[in-house]
Point group: C2
Chain length 356, copies 2
């Protein structure tokens, strides 16, 4: 201690906090962003060690913008706000703020936003926008830009990511429907270009086969986007292709909402005539008519952990990339029930009969 | 033409577009952001006029970040994504991008985000976060930072704003309920610190008085936030205070959703025992149980017009401040119906009887 100046890092270590937290706590302008007890601990550590902020070091620090860019593929999907909330809460603990932008799943827009944010000197990115093969992510990794993928991940490179265990989620959905007695189960998948769309589809097929059932190609379709309109379009196709289907596993809640629209058009009652289960447990779907059964992913924790990994990556550029999988959970509401009894011919012709 | 260089502004004028659009179209990196026909028109104009981009001028242009900061008070409120969509679409026409941040209605966080974005050199702000008295907005106006308020506005200064006509919206809600036969109508207002909360409350009182009805203080309460939890809390208070209430005008849809929760707790059927009408027409509420009657505000247009005003303000710092009011619209769904017939005593005691 006699020969070396006390550094911010020393103070942080002594207080048992992240250096970013210590920095915020020591700066009166930003102190309010740090938990009060933590700020007190840091200030005490600084006093004990005789820490004096070095104005030159502080000048150099201005390269640290303490902002993070967060790219979201579709702000109108209620899945993302709780993820963003988790990201913001974790970042805030270290005095970082999040700047968000909405890419509409458009690669050109995504790259422009990425470059715009880079020009604005964000220190790293959390990307909810990754395709399974994603040149932007590959370029960013090659340039050693700190990035963490959230919700979706890529296949073509090794990177930091926090995602739900999507294959396992589809397994939960299929098991629930099989337990109710369904055998003719369809799947409305999301786009296969996203890891979520592909893994949920693969999980569906594996679970059907595991249950000794056929994953009938005629009962499987894919939305071009995770939207209500695409869910309705694909639902119409599956209903037209085969009238034995009694249940649908949707790749997300918005696709399932599209099924609701088609059921209403067709005079099908849910779950009496046909069951549907969503994926995500987005806000408000517990209040739908009928309340939607779904697979819950821990949105907030996914966001929180993504921010945590990014802070790790920023503070330690040599940290090993890792993918954190969080566990999904079955939420049974009123959109899933036993299959209709086949009175005459197929289930759905009986249902259509009762509707007229 | 012989003595003066052709400028970007000349090209833009010749092509009949905004200078920002011309700039985007002339830069190969950003051309994809401009409508193809427009880009062609600009390139032709540049060729006709013999425009040569001036590298020094381009250097100076880097002060123009072509980014706009958008502060949102609560990303989990589904009201805001459609507003953001309108903002982004208008900005994109001029080659601008939006950086978003979520303030949680926290003035400290708001100011920090504002400063963070200013440091990142945004050219202006769209604020969905204004309080009626808002020191941050006043400071920004005093510093001549281009800002436009969206959805809410301030009272303590003259500024650019695009908002719904909130008093008129409450008038529509009350008229609808009075037309159904209700006389004992309650109001769950949003926070009075926001222009939306105050104007909708004032509109409610004025409409009740206009209909010759009493705006009974016991049937009026205010949420501390525009949230489902606060709606439930105030709804419980109003029900406990007076059992003659047969309908509620809620200050927004989330407050109305909180009423749904309390109705379920209390065994009240909506609309048979009690009606409720929301405000905003946020996504998905048409699929609720029951589908929520509400006052629709034109979210997308509100966002689009806010961005349009900001672009005007940026290109012409002397433009006169103005407030654009957009008209609300009544949307009748299934959460409002005639008041219950008073069989014995009050309406609600009859309802409670039938529920047991």
């Amino acid at each position: 201690m006699a020969f070396t100046a006390v550094t911010l890092r020393d103070v942080a270590k002594h207080a048992g906090v992240h250096p970013g937290t210590a920095s915020r706590a020591l700066n009166s302008r930003t102190r309010a962003l740090v938990n009060e007890a933590t700020a007190k601990k840091v200030l005490e550590a600084a006093r004990e060690l005789g820490y004096r902020p070095n104005p030159i070091a502080r000048g150099l620090k201005t390269n640290r913008s303490e902002t993070i860019g967060v790219l979201i593929p579709d702000l109108t999907n209620p899945l993302f706000p709780p993820i963003v909330r988790g990201i913001e809460d974790r970042l805030r603990e270290e005095g970082y703020t999040a700047l968000l932008a909405n890419s509409d799943n458009d690669p050109t827009k995504e790259r422009l936003l990425f470059e715009t944010m880079s020009d604005r000197q964000v220190e790293g990115f959390i990307l909810a926008t990754a395709d399974r093969e994603d040149p932007l992510v590959e370029d960013a990794l090659a340039a050693r830009v700190p990035i963490v993928m959230v919700n979706r991940t890529i296949e073509t490179a090794i990177a930091f990511a926090v995602v739900g265990r999507d294959r396992g989620g589809s397994q939960l959905a299929v098991s629930h429907l099989v337990g109710l007695g369904h055998t003719r189960i369809g799947h409305i998948g999301g786009p296969e270009r996203f890891s979520t769309g592909k893994a949920r589809y693969e999980g569906f097929v594996a679970a059907m086969e595991g249950a000794g059932l056929e994953a009938d190609r005629r009962l499987i379709g894919f939305g071009e986007a995770f939207t209500e309109d695409e869910g309705a379009r694909v639902c119409r196709e599956l209903l037209a292709a085969d009238n034995s289907m009694t249940a649908i596993v949707a790749g997300n809640d918005l696709l399932a909402l599209g099924c609701y629209d088609v059921f209403a058009e067709e005079g099908l009652r849910c779950p009496e005539n046909i069951s549907v289960i969503g994926y995500n447990d987005m806000p408000f779907i517990d209040k739908l008519r009928p309340p939607l059964s779904t697979i819950r992913i821990p949105h907030y924790e996914i966001g929180w952990n993504a921010a945590d990994l990014l802070l790790l990556r920023i503070s330690d550029p040599d940290a090993s990339p890792r993918t954190v999988f969080l566990e999904p959970e079955l939420v049974v509401r009123a959109s899933t029930g036993p299959p209709p009894q086949p009175l005459s011919g197929t289930a759905r012709s009986a249902a259509a009969g009762s509707a007229t």
